[in-house]
């Protein structure tokens, strides 16, 4: 059997989330990867992909239509390549979640989103109801299209392989939506999905100004910063900080929740963290039901004290 893994390589690098998707696919047979991007990034992206161990070949498609990860040309490309594969796999990132279901519909296949475990080539485990239920599904489709919950799979190594690179000719201009502009929230910190430590804040931080109290702690721990929906909705931090059922799904070694109550939608995104610390002034807050260590008190005193105590 052979699987094709679509990588998120638009900026010329291969993110950890894509390497987790490859890890998930390793039980499915031979693996080809598909790298797409603009003419300026494709060579670097392909070279990085070729270094990933265990890849049979790297297939590339480039051009303006692929520069921004638009779903329509990606789906058309996946459909064109589909006859060669039994499984088509992508990380459950914004790009994977947009393109794979579209391609699946064109192939008359029911996409299987957010796969956490692969039992065999036709049997998959995925979360439903905000992760409160895990369902084991059997797919009767001839071809399987999956997106991968990356927090559930340790990424494969970035270096060590020498896979051949082969350019493919994409189907004729399939561009439908057009890219206008992007606003990337700039940060020097690790990506949420890749971070070993996450310091996360909620409504308890009170304001964008108040939220900054988390920064020295995150600096000290080399941590990424996350947030609850309320913190994002209130404009304390940008949207891509949101952790939860409808935000990012993370599983770091250490998750420090500050001023977050622990709603099920938030827990859905972080309850697989190895160690959870909760800092909350309400000792009844549900977050304490999942926290390994809790401190009850005012975060505006505790957070700076913790930063200082770490030296």
């Amino acid at each position: 059997m052979t699987a094709l893994v679509l990588l998120d390589a638009e900026d010329g690098t291969i993110p950890q989330t894509s390497r987790s998707a490859i890890a998930a696919a390793t039980s499915l047979g031979d693996i080809d990867v598909l790298v797409t991007g603009g003419a300026d990034t494709i060579a670097a992206a392909a070279a990085s992909a070729a270094k990933i161990p265990g890849i049979r070949k790297v297939r590339t498609a480039s051009g303006e239509a692929f520069a921004h990860g638009l779903a329509e040309p990606l789906a058309a490309l996946l459909v064109a390549l589909a006859p060669d594969y039994d499984h088509i796999v992508a990380a459950a990132t914004a790009i994977g979640k947009s393109a794979l279901p579209r391609a699946a519909a064109l192939l008359d296949v029911q996409v299987i989103p957010d796969v956490m475990d692969i039992k065999d080539s036709e049997t998959f485990v995925r979360p439903i109801f905000a992760g409160n239920v895990l369902v084991t599904l059997h797919s009767s489709d001839a071809k399987k299209l999956l997106t991968i919950r990356t927090a559930s799979f340790d990424p494969v190594a970035a270096e060590g392989g020498t896979a051949p690179i082969e350019a493919v000719t994409p189907p004729d201009d399939q561009q439908k939506s057009r890219f206008v502009s992007a606003e990337h929230s700039s940060t020097e910190r690790p990506q949420l999905e890749a971070a070993r430590v996450i310091v996360s804040g909620g409504r308890g931080l009170q304001s964008a100004e108040g939220f900054k109290i988390l920064e020295p702690l995150a600096d000290r721990l080399g941590a990424a910063i996350g947030a609850s929906r309320v913190a994002v909705d209130s404009g304390f931090v940008p949207n891509d900080y949101q952790v939860g059922q409808t935000g990012k799904i993370v599983a770091p070694d250490l998750y420090i929740a500050c001023g977050i109550s622990g709603a099920i939608q938030h827990l859905a995104g972080m309850k697989d963290s190895k160690v959870i610390v909760a800092i909350n002034k309400d000792e009844e807050a549900p977050i304490f039901q999942v926290a390994d260590y809790g401190l009850v008190g005012d975060l505006f005193q505790i957070v700076p004290a913790l930063t200082a105590a770490l030296g």
């Binding site: 789906a75 391609a103 239920v133 004290a305």
Partner: protein, 249 residues
């Protein structure tokens, strides 16, 4: 412009669901059901486009059990003009839902379909994209802002590293994210008025779509519960535990 908004009846977001003892499904007896929160946002966005003079008619559709008519009445009370219930024994998979929606799109000819980005029960996050594929229309998922432009729509979407704006020619598919708007509540007089708005019922079986599931549930289980840990008395104690017990710093 005519807008179609597909809405789904789901277990209310405040309910923590439990797997039935036989493992064959989740406990739904006596559980509160509501409109999928993302679909409320989709309905609201359609209403705002009508209030701006961009849209003229808002049609809402639900596919599912007869009680989904209540969910449609909620959308009518919010301000949708008319509703269609495609009745089936259960909510079909996104591929089948998309095929049914495609038939309705071919019949009703909307210029825009706004869906929720995901239903909070099955969390598939797939139906809008699948419908866009079947119709060969442009798509913009995870929308946080929708604006009419001279040649179509400008849609800002929430993506992993921030946000981006796409331009789409109509007809098009948009899926709504949380921050697109804050949906209104239906006022009591509008709830009364909604009872008189047209609600058509069609049997899913009459549409000729194969509803056979491609995915069959082998088992359902609750994930292992995390046990509550301990509350500590001081920051120093926390640092000691993180260093020497948990060994994560």
């Amino acid at each position: 412009m005519k807008i179609l908004v597909p809405i789904k009846r789901v277990v209310d977001y405040n309910v923590k669901v439990r797997v039935r003892r036989d493992g064959g499904g989740v406990e739904t007896a006596g559980v509160k059901m509501s409109m999928n929160p993302f679909d409320e946002i989709a309905v609201e966005e359609a209403l705002r486009l009508r209030e701006k003079g961009v849209a003229s008619e808002i049609l809402t559709v639900s596919i599912g059990v007869p009680q989904a008519a209540d969910t449609l009445r909620t959308a009518l009370a919010m301000g949708a003009d008319r509703a269609i219930l495609v009745q089936s024994e259960e909510s079909p998979e996104p591929l089948a839902v998309a095929k049914i929606l495609k038939i309705l799109v071919d019949r009703e000819k909307p210029d825009l379909v706004i869906l929720g980005k995901q239903a909070i029960d099955d969390d598939m996050n797939a139906t809008g994209q699948m419908l866009a594929g079947l119709l060969d229309w442009p798509q913009a998922t995870f929308a946080s802002r929708v604006e009419k432009t001279a040649d179509g729509l400008a849609v800002t979407r929430e993506i992993d590293g921030g946000s981006e704006t796409l331009s789409l020619a109509l007809p098009a598919i948009v899926t709504a994210d949380l921050r697109l708007n804050e949906p209104r509540y239906a006022a009591l007089p509008n709830i009364m008025k909604a009872r008189k708005k047209p609600l058509e019922t069609i049997a899913a079986a009459d549409l000729g779509v194969d509803l056979t599931r491609r995915l069959t549930i082998l088992s359902m289980a609750e994930p292992p519960a995390r046990k509550a840990g301990i509350k500590l008395g001081s920051v120093a104690e926390l640092v000691e535990k993180l260093r020497n017990e948990a060994k994560v710093i």
